[in-house]
């Protein structure tokens, strides 16, 4: 896409986060959307583009009273919202619509009005993975990690360290689900889930949602909030089955999406002030740092262990506490985008001083898909 031609002018999460048993999933979408519209000074009548994942954009548009001229229901897992941002930017530039609302909500913990997830036994995964005992992300997303650890000599303690650092960030965020500092031993002594993964290496399961509103950079100047410009975008996908990932030590979808976003943005890695990498599990930031090109292969874990991503480090990473400590309703990509927008607006609870470029990198499914957005708070 063309750099800085589109901006985020509204961004908000649900009013509450964590455990919200008195609200359906559909209303969580609406709550986030209404908060984002208020943030942007808009009403539903001003919105002419709608995107969401998991649930239908038709349902969201009708519930909110929006008549769109552009609809995107791309649903490739937790990074879908990165893809929506990318598609929305293209649609706005092409004149298909002017003002796009992207929503995410999931009653992931309370399961109020939440869709059921089941795999057809005739699907590829249903035939070639489900019969061997995979149940949910903790028994799927974790499978490649051992190969990575053997190839690069990365220890269980190194993986645990990712969770320790993210808890440091979470401790600065009043909205984070878990804020008490932890040690590597705490992580290694937490309940075994799927060896080598312990409980504290796995994301939370919470209720919540978020929404973004995008419009042209031209119009963005007239909105109440400081515009956050889209500088570059990327997307890709690899496989619906974790067992069929090309190389268990690196994500092809990450590499393709990340490179596309960097190329579009025309930036170097040293230009990046703030980074979000979707951390469904503790190995994800390690893969992300390498596949996005911030570290050489095999050096991601040491990069984190040495303090580069912690508060005060040279590359602040997952500054809201991440899916491991902040919140994770099921499709966390929206929250990574929200934190990037807060950092670019300068209002994050753990604000990176003077940050000008932020990247939000998402994963969908189990290394199945990926989306990357580069934000800037400086106009063209």
């Amino acid at each position: 896409m063309k750099q800085k031609t589109v901006a985020v002018v509204g961004a908000a999460e649900t009013t509450e986060m964590g455990k919200i048993p008195n609200t359906s999933q559909l209303m969580l979408h609406a709550d986030a959307a209404l908060n984002a519209m208020k943030d942007a000074g808009l009403t539903a009548k001003d919105i002419d583009g709608v995107a969401t994942a998991g649930d239908s954009p038709v349902e969201i548009a009708h519930y909110l009273g929006i008549t769109p001229t552009w609809v995107d229901g791309t649903s490739v897992g937790g990074c879908s919202f990165m893809l929506h941002v990318r598609h929305a930017a293209a649609a706005i530039n092409e004149g298909l619509c002017n003002t796009v609302l992207i929503t995410h909500a999931e009653s992931g913990r309370s399961r109020v009005g939440a869709r059921r997830f089941s795999r057809d036994p005739a699907s590829q995964s249903g035939q070639f993975e489900v019969p061997f005992g995979i149940t949910n992300p903790p028994t799927m997303f974790t499978i490649p990690a051992l190969r990575y650890m053997k190839q690069y000599g990365v220890t269980e303690g190194d993986v645990a360290h990712v969770a320790v650092v993210q808890r440091e960030w979470a401790s600065k965020n009043p909205r984070a689900s878990f804020r008490d500092l932890i040690t590597v031993d705490d992580v290694l002594n937490s309940k075994m889930i799927a060896w080598p993964f312990r409980l504290l290496m796995c994301c939370l399961v919470t209720d919540g949602g978020g929404a973004l509103i995008l419009t042209s950079a031209e119009r963005a100047k007239d909105f109440p909030q400081k515009p956050v410009y889209i500088l570059g975008t990327g997307e890709s996908c690899e496989t619906p089955m974790i067992s069929q990932m090309e190389d268990f030590t690196t994500s092809k979808a990450f590499r393709v999406s990340g490179k596309k976003a960097f190329d579009e943005a025309g930036i170097r890695h040293s230009d990046v002030d703030h980074l979000m990498i979707y951390d469904a599990f503790a190995h994800l930031p390690i893969y992300g740092l390498e596949d996005l090109g911030f570290c050489e292969r095999g050096e991601g874990a040491a990069f984190i262990r040495e303090g580069n991503t912690r508060p005060g480090g040279k590359l602040p990473l997952n500054t809201n506490g991440g899916g491991l400590s902040y919140m994770h309703s099921g499709m966390y990509g929206m929250y990574a985008l929200q934190e990037s927008v807060r950092q670019m607006r300068g209002i994050a609870p753990a604000q990176v001083p003077g940050a000008k470029i932020s990247i939000a990198h998402g994963v969908g499914g189990m290394f199945a898909a990926s989306g990357t957005i580069v934000f800037s708070n400086e106009p063209l």
Binding site: P121, F132, L146
Partner: protein
Amino acid sequence: MAEYNRPLPSPTPETRHFWEGCREGELRLQRCTSCTESYFPPRPFCPACGSREVEIYKASGKATLYSYIINHRPRPDFGDQPHSIAVVELAEGPRMMTNVVDCPQTPDALTLDMPLEVTFEKANDEISLPKFRPAKG
């Protein structure tokens, strides 16, 4: 034999030969007659070059352990002990998900790259699942 209460595959027209092979004690792969690529899961064309000229053949059943977890989450249908969920690399190249059986389900016993061989676990008259055990000799 106790009734098999785990989730089972529903073969489709494109995968039926694989599951029929398992029932008959054969691990069947496909390969392209144009570019000779072996591939899995089954489909009636070559994912490497797009050719529909493909053949089914009996694989050696030899593999090595590529990666795995030991699941500690409750799966009563898999018993009350932690169990492996593994991905093996077949001698012919493709990888597949499976369980490593006839072996302690511990990190010490399950070492990456250990040689394995296929064994078939009968679920019912239609379906046998390909599992892998430490190779003998």
